[in-house]
Symmetry: C2
Subunit: 552 residues, 2 copies
């Protein structure tokens, strides 16, 4: 809800913090906030927690925030970025721990336990040791001592979050040790204090040669972690992104989720809209999450069935910052709300949780409630129509990830290639290709491998197809691209009319701030339409079947 | 020459500073050094002049540098970046002027006059005025007062350098004034002190919509400045890049150079290798400069004929920094040397000046001299073979400009498009197209407009051609692309063998540092070969005529 309204709500009798009785024990919010005050992939202003290398915040606002998070079911937070800097690594050291403990204390008032992101090389970085080898006895001792210090200050700390061997961050692999060796040395130090290690599985070759067609990035997490099942300490939780790529608009679920019998797992979502519109374009993440939870993981189970079972925790990257409305786009508040609610009860539908949010925020007047809810429910499909197609993904501008660049990542080192030529596009990930599908349960392997049974929205994630391939609609892939892009712009124009019609019912500041973002979304949708259509038109020489304008 | 050798040379009797009697009065070196110590487009370490927001240097080293510049004919330097920051704008203000004057004093010892890059909005930025409108009397007064202050400290200051209305920097156009209005208000203030304004002509629309095919960036400088001929004060010099794009490997000469009858002009080169290998890849800029000077500007004159005539000054962007060898790549020292020598005497050939440098640096032993000179003379052609083709340019990675990205700039706002599709590539810049060629002398307009007479190396600068177009060699454009890229890698391999064979004759540190860069160049040349070949193969579906490996 809007901050002003939330303040009012806090003063009302509904404001008692609800006691959430969830099947998922840990419902975690990760912030990618840097200690200099910036926020990685943040689109809502500066950090709520940090400034200029120190912990620095408005106590009242953090209290409001903690209370709000608690009210929607969040019970763990990590405030510092998983990409730990030399300075933020010191959050577990003497110079910062008092301030960290004070911040943790605010969240504690609302039943939320703190997590700290740490640097795997800390024994060397902070401790002055010559190594961070998890087999080294000084390293083992160092982690134990660090845990003692931290738990003296924060006795209920939930644990440490670690991104290691990932995107140029050092980890155990650099020393010839396994991911389990790495996670366990920290887990063993935390165990007596009741702490856990949240170990991210975003490990892949980020210096791939595009000429190498054997290496297939989506295979990486499973290849690295599945063989280690049984080697992780009990208090290690593997934190696995929902899809095998990286929070794209459309991906299959990660085959690693649920695959390991003897290892605790956490499902990771992204509330912040890195690839999904950056809080300029409307995108209700709940719709995607419901699809993810609905999707099968075997012949008899869906992802939802794993929740509270093999998947004991759920995590998301936050979308909040110092903006007055918390989330940049006012309607993006619904994404944070929905995460808390769906983490607490994965059986809730997107319609239910978004409906709750719209009512809490704008009231129950159906003249407002229905059109706003309808826009939000459609927003994910519309965004997908003008950006990604049939599971393709990655056609974004490099680095910042907003706006179209069809070949932006095509020759880079990140392992994200569509390999489009003048007649076909996509990567064959079946056993005839990179073999990625073999990582799934046999039922899913068969489902995805067969072009007839592969869900159409994922066709280009699993298969290489000629543009002339006929979809179930009877359209070719190419005509589907064209149609989606033309129609998406029309949908955004409808959003704008809808929103305009609500003006009399809305506070002017809320109306105009959303109206402004919708106009920016329209410009973005047109840019995507024209760039992507032109790209495929130049490549194929085939015009739009309906004769609409495609630039040369 | 290498720093150590130069030090020796300084102690020798040859070290008397030569008195250069040139037809070109001003031979200027621009540094793009930021006051924080970084260097824009710098590939040789941090700034020689600045650190952490202040003027900060090793006096002995600057004295060596000034002496060296003077010895090769340079008689003007500007040390701060034309992209002036809020802090470096203060170089003309009380807080920094003493330090600036001290630095200028070192150059003065060697007959080099100082230039300061200033911010056009200084009256507002530094003076606290509400405007920087050149018609405003307070603004006029402010510039006069600023000039008084500066000339009190640096009585022989050559003048101010200004980049205005360019790449998001404010200028007179923002206030509805002309470029002449902008330049003149400063020039009038400098006149009584004998100072000049060096006014850059790099003015173009840097927020172009790629869908707009009417706007053609190469037309911009001429369109903006030519109509103003006669309106500039006598002490304004228009600083014009050699080509109409931006220091690409291959461009035609700017039609603005020599076009204005009543305006002093400066020809601007780039010694620093922004688009030409970044001091990793070997690239002897002198070869390109000779071509530029050789090129016709009318039916009876070449660019060389303009030198000392309509073009009274010559400028280049420096390639130096705090690296021990000054220029990152040891052989890139030759580019600075060559600039000074050719600025002093534009009739010198690349062979002559590079030959001088090789002898001064490595001695006259023909076993060293000849192969090194040969490598350097070939280096420009080889680099062009694996990067740009037939004048195409711009297929570089965005922002940093190293390495290939065929569509990197294709949908961006910088006005740099090749518009390649499955059958053709390039932009028609004749009068049937964007009309750019009409900016040239009629003789050149005719020459460039006709595919038969257009120099082949510029074909794709002026024309859109099908890949099947036959070049004079009988090869198609596409096969020419393929061949160039395959052969370029072989040439780089030859450079490596040549260099390896020189090992016994060279100091080990010089040998190994160049050898290391040649290996990096080889990897870069292979990356270019494979990315560009694959790009065109994917687009056209046409294989290499010789069956060599092109990745799918």
């Amino acid at each position: 809800m809007a901050y002003s309204e939330y303040k009012m709500w806090l003063q009302s009798e509904n404001a008692a913090v609800p006691k959430v009785d969830s099947i998922i024990e840990e419902r975690i919010l990760n912030h990618w906030d840097n200690i200099d005050g910036s926020v990685e992939r943040g689109y809502s202003g500066k950090s709520l927690f940090f400034k200029d290398g120190n912990i620095c915040y408005d106590k009242n606002r953090i209290r409001d925030y903690a209370r709000y998070l608690s009210s929607i079911g969040i019970n763990r937070v990590c405030c510092n970025n998983v990409n730990v800097t030399e300075r933020s690594a010191r959050m577990i050291a003497d110079d910062l721990i008092d301030d960290v403990a004070a911040l943790a204390g605010i969240f504690r008032e609302f039943g939320i336990r703190f997590i700290i992101a740490v640097d795997f090389t800390s024994p060397r970085l902070l401790g002055g040791l010559t190594t961070y080898d998890p087999y080294d006895e000084h390293v083992i001792k160092w982690w134990k001592a660090a845990a003692e210090t931290v738990y003296k200050h924060i006795p209920d700390l939930a644990g440490f979050l670690v991104k290691a061997d990932s995107e140029f961050r050092d980890g155990p692999a650099a020393l010839g040790r396994t991911q389990a060796d790495g996670a366990n040395v920290i887990a063993n130090a935390l165990k007596k204090h009741g702490g856990k290690v949240y170990w991210r599985c975003f490990v892949y070759n980020c210096v791939q040669d595009w000429r190498d067609t054997k290496t297939d990035r989506p295979k990486a997490a499973y290849d690295h972690f599945y063989p280690l099942d049984g080697s992780f300490a009990d208090n290690v939780i593997l934190q696995i992104k929902h899809g095998p790529s990286d929070f794209q608009v459309r991906e299959p679920n990660s085959p690693l989720l649920g695959a390991m019998e003897h290892t605790s797992q956490a499902l990771e979502f992204q509330v912040t809209q890195e690839y999904t519109g950056q809080q300029v374009d409307l995108y209700a993440t709940a719709v995607q999450w419901q699809e993810i939870l609905d999707a099968p993981v075997s012949d008899s189970q869906s992802m939802r069935d794993l929740m509270g079972n093999k998947v004991k925790a759920i995590v998301a990257v936050a979308n909040t910052g110092l903006d007055a409305n918390w989330t940049g786009h006012t309607l993006a508040q619904a994404n944070l709300y929905a995460f808390g609610r769906m983490a607490s009860d994965p059986a809730l539908t997107a319609r239910e949780v978004l409906g709750e949010w719209v009512k809490l925020t704008f009231g129950s007047n159906p003249a407002v409630y229905e059109p706003v809810l309808d826009m939000m429910l459609r927003s994910r499909e519309v965004y997908e129509m003008y950006t990604s197609h049939l599971g393709l993904g990655w056609m974004v501008n490099i680095n910042h990830h907003y706006g179209p660049s069809p070949e932006g990542y095509e020759f880079m080192k990140w392992g994200t290639y569509h390999r489009a030529n003048h007649e076909a596009i996509g990567v064959d990930r079946t056993e005839a290709g990179t073999g990625y599908t073999a990582q799934y349960h046999p039922h899913l392997n068969a489902l995805y491998s067969n072009i007839e049974t592969c869900p159409e929205e994922l066709l280009l994630y699993f298969h290489r197809l000629p543009y002339s391939f006929k979809l179930k609609s009877g359209k070719t892939v190419l005509q589907h691209f064209y149609d989606s892009h033309f129609e998406a712009v029309e949908h955004v124009e409808e959003f704008i009319s809808t929103w305009d019609s609500l003006r009399p019912h809305l506070p002017e500041c809320v109306f105009s701030s959303v109206a402004d973002r919708l106009l920016r979304q329209l410009s973005n949708a047109k840019e995507w339409r024209d760039v992507v259509n032109t790209y495929f038109y130049r490549l194929t020489g085939i015009s739009d079947g309906q004769g609409r304008k495609i630039y040369d």
